[in-house]
Amino acid sequence: MSDPNNIIRLVDLASIETQAADWIARLDRDAPSESDLADFAAWKALSPYHQQAADRLQCLWSEFDILAKLTPAVQDRIVASPKRPTPPPPWWVAGLVAASLVVAGLGAVSVLQHLPQTQVYDTAVGGQRTINLEDGSSIQLNTNSQVEVRYSAKARDLRLIRGEAYFEVAPNKQRPFSVYAQEGVVRAVGTAFVVRLTGDRVEVTVTKGKVELAAFTHPTSIASLDRVASIPRKPLTMVSATHGATELAVMDQTQLVEHLDLAAPEVTRKLAWRQGMLVFNGETLPNVVADVSRYTDVQIEIADPTLNNLKVGGYFKVGEVDPMLEALESSFGVRVERIDDKHVRLLASL
């Protein structure tokens, strides 16, 4: 007897695609309900074919957003002006003084004209935003993040001050694009990558092209982007995305501690925040809680150590804690105790 499973699969593939498209359109509604999200996660879990169809179409769905760049009206909406319109930070004043000294000393050099401006962009806990930069590059800021941008004629210097950001770099070999983070720097010409700060660690995930990861040779904390280019550094590694692979590198202070290929589901999971989603594929509850906590003020405490080994899979909208808690209660045998608005305890249900 020939394998009947194959026949069923062939017949089903088209309808799986159709259902996946239906799901994506449903979840694109203004506020998908938590039961929709849970149902979708369950649907995807039916088979690897379901999962693949959903991933592929979801990816295509968000890829279509590139077309929004065509309409100026939309562009204006996306290019929200920075919260603080160029506050003159201390370095700027210092730079101005220094610059005028140079002008006094050298005469003809019009340094003042070329003083680059620094912009600071940030997001609150649970917030996300996209910043389109003048050169066509863009930054997508995740929750509770802050980035400083300083463009000059010769360089594009940025600094991730906290949080996580996805950088899509418009190529320009004459103006290298450098992202400073802690004691390291990620340098690129035209590529796309995510930088995330956690404590002393800097995590770099490259989704397109290639970047160089370098560390300062001496422990140096930078307070601003002024003169960062002159800090001595040593190259640590090249992180690249070639042949569809995505690489991750992690540096801790000035050491490279990890450099590996990411498996496809892990890539989806790590980048889901860019679509406003959090995805879990069997992470332990403490990890899930840690991840969810980045997007909310609500403090989630695991009060029962037996829950530490609980593996969780699911799909949640960024910043929506309640649906996750409800899913934990309904499907994972967790009892949720609400102490107050900002404090929740998780216990094993009896």
Partner: protein, 194 residues
């Protein structure tokens, strides 16, 4: 197929001939022709264009004049191509080509949307190009949200099939976009060789 795409295909040769009066390089002409379609596509997403042919030529002309102006202000030709060993990756994949690839990707997506049935296309355009929410799209077109949702699901599926036929691999960045910007065959020729 949308009126704009059809008009573009019908006039592609003429537009390219017009552009070649300004630019000798075939590559420049192809790029600008593609850009012309993209701009027209975006405009059509916002409003009805009464005379698409004249509209396309007007866009082509403006693009040509702007581009010529830009080139005349460039002191050195092809300065981007100058290899700077101190800059990372001056060799391989990171180059000005990425920008072109981005436009190519937009063009093939625009083409996929243009191939949708009219109402489905309108919904898809408002949601994905104009960035309206489903609710706003429904209001704008006088449809129910569930109808909008159905159109979007259909549109996504059809676009996916369209792109599959064109060899575009979803989620592979822009790598699988055809390297030649010849996305449109004149006079509705076979698409299999794209």
């Amino acid at each position: 197929m949308s009126l704009m795409l059809r008009t573009f295909l019908e006039n592609e040769r003429g537009i390219k001939r017009f552009l070649s009066r300004f630019f000798p390089r075939a590559q420049d002409v192809d790029d600008l022709a593609q850009e012309t379609f993209l701009r027209a596509f975006a405009a059509e997403a916002e409003r009805d264009v009464l005379s698409p042919r004249a509209f396309l030529y007007r866009i082509a002309k403006n693009l040509a004049l702007n581009e010529r102006e830009r080139l005349s202000h460039r002191t050195t030709s092809y300065i981007e191509d100058y290899p700077d060993p101190s800059v990372l990756g001056s060799g391989d994949q990171v180059s000005g080509e990425d920008v072109v690839e981005g436009r190519q990707k937009m063009a093939i997506f625009a083409e996929a949307i243009s191939a949708l049935p009219p109402q489905c296309r309108r919904v898809f355009l408002l949601r994905k190009v104009q960035g309206l929410s489903q609710k706003d799209v429904a209001q704008r077109l006088g449809l129910s949200v569930s109808t909008v949702e159905k159109h979007l699901a259909t549109g996504l599926l059809k676009c996916s099939e369209y792109l599959k036929l064109r060899g575009y691999e979803v989620g592979s960045g822009s790598a699988a976009v055809p390297t030649q910007p010849q996305l449109y065959r004149s006079q509705g020729g076979s698409s299999a060789d794209v």
